[in-house]
Amino acid sequence: MNTRNDVEQMIARVGLGDRAAFSSLYDATSAKLFGVCLRILKDRAEAEDTLQEAFVRIWQKAGTYVANGFSPMTWLITLTRNLAIDKLRKRKAGSVDIDEVYDLADSGPTPEAAAVASSERDQIDGCLNELEATRAGAVRDAYIEGHSYTELAAKYGVPLNTMRTWLRRSLVKLKDCLTR
């Protein structure tokens, strides 16, 4: 099991162009990142393509990760999840035009959020539990499954605009709770 420090050091070395470190980083993290791709895309070939894109991007961007305040796995997972959801949306839109994914690397979390992250899963679960069950479910589905508003509206049997209003209100409540 690799610690946060191990992964951080691997990314730092990858940022310097160290191919052996890249290989170690791949071995240490690819299963988790492939899990992200599979869960969102639900298609093995697309998940493999996306994992490949993610690691090419990691090789290119590792130098910008250093000391930006994110935990290394957050950085890797966010990057991979963004690519996977982009691919999912493009598949549904039937288009090959690919938007630039905004890179989270140039702005770390505020000290507030970094402190929140340290208490891990309990806090987000606690705050989601303060929402109505279906509204918390919609937030989870958006994050884990990459569902769009249209899919969420269909799944929870409400009009699109209602879902949008629910979710935006849920986010504001969630933020209040998470930063309390």
């Binding site: 791949y26 988790k32 869960r39 090789w59 899963r121 806090q123 990459g146 504001v172």
Partner: protein
């Protein structure tokens, strides 16, 4: 609207952005604001961190070994002296065509084992639907080099693979030349094509020896992939 309402709006908007719930237009508008507003970037970073604990729901699954070798292939490809066959331009001229066909003039750069400063910012994965042909292309604008690495598959017997660029918004593909038998090759794109590659699509067609005789693909399109920024 009060400042606090604006803030709540931005909190929700940043959350929607992180969850990828904004439509394409709203997403672009938000990204324009992100570039200009550090506070907004802070909100996005906060949401990334807030949601991160949910990622424990992603079960790890070991990817096939092939994926790692493909990635290392596209990033670290080294090959010895590819021979690039006749360019389409030479082919067209040699065949006596005088028509005003837009073609690329290609310069093949031998790959060496020297330290490799190649740092691509655009890539494309050209794959056949049945994965029988897979070619990775990566382009480094500062060098003008388009690096082609054929991962799997090859030309049909007595035929060649020809590479095409369909620029964003273009209706006609432009030939980038015939792929060599070697697994990897570098080609230098002329400036006009270099400027057209971002946002375009690369495709490979099945052609007779020497490449398409018409300046447009004549055989089956075997593989294609969008050019994306990395």
């Amino acid at each position: 609207m009060t400042t606090s309402d604006d803030h709540s709006d931005d909190v929700a908007l940043a959350g929607e952005y992180v969850l990828h719930l904004l439509d394409a237009e709203a997403r672009r508008a938000f990204e324009d604001r992100l570039n200009a507003e550090p506070d907004l970037r802070g909100l996005v970073a906060d949401w990334d961190a807030h949601f991160d604990p949910l990622s424990s729901d992603f079960e790890p699954v070991a990817p096939p070994a092939l994926v790692k070798s493909r990635i290392e292939g596209v990033l670290f490809a080294q090959a010895a002296k590819p021979r690039w066959p006749l360019s389409l331009w030479q082919m067209v001229m040699g065949a006596g065509f005088a028509g005003a066909v837009a073609v690329a003039v290609l310069v093949v750069v031998p790959l060496t084992n020297a330290p490799d400063p190649f740092t691509p910012s655009l890539i494309a994965e050209l794959s056949a639907q049945d994965q029988s042909l897979l070619v990775m292309a990566s382009y480094a604008p500062d060098t003008g080099i388009l690096r082609i690495v054929r991962q799997t598959g090859s030309a049909r017997d007595g035929r060649v693979l020809e590479l095409w660029l369909i620029a964003d918004g273009a209706t006609e593909p432009v030939s980038l030349g015939v792929l060599p038998e070697d697994r990897a090759a570098d080609i230098i794109l002329p400036t006009d094509l270099a400027n057209a590659i971002a946002g375009g699509t690369l495709a490979i067609s099945d052609e007779p020896t020497g490449g398409s005789p018409t300046g447009a693909p004549t055989g089956d399109v075997l593989a294609a992939g969008a050019v994306i920024s990395i």
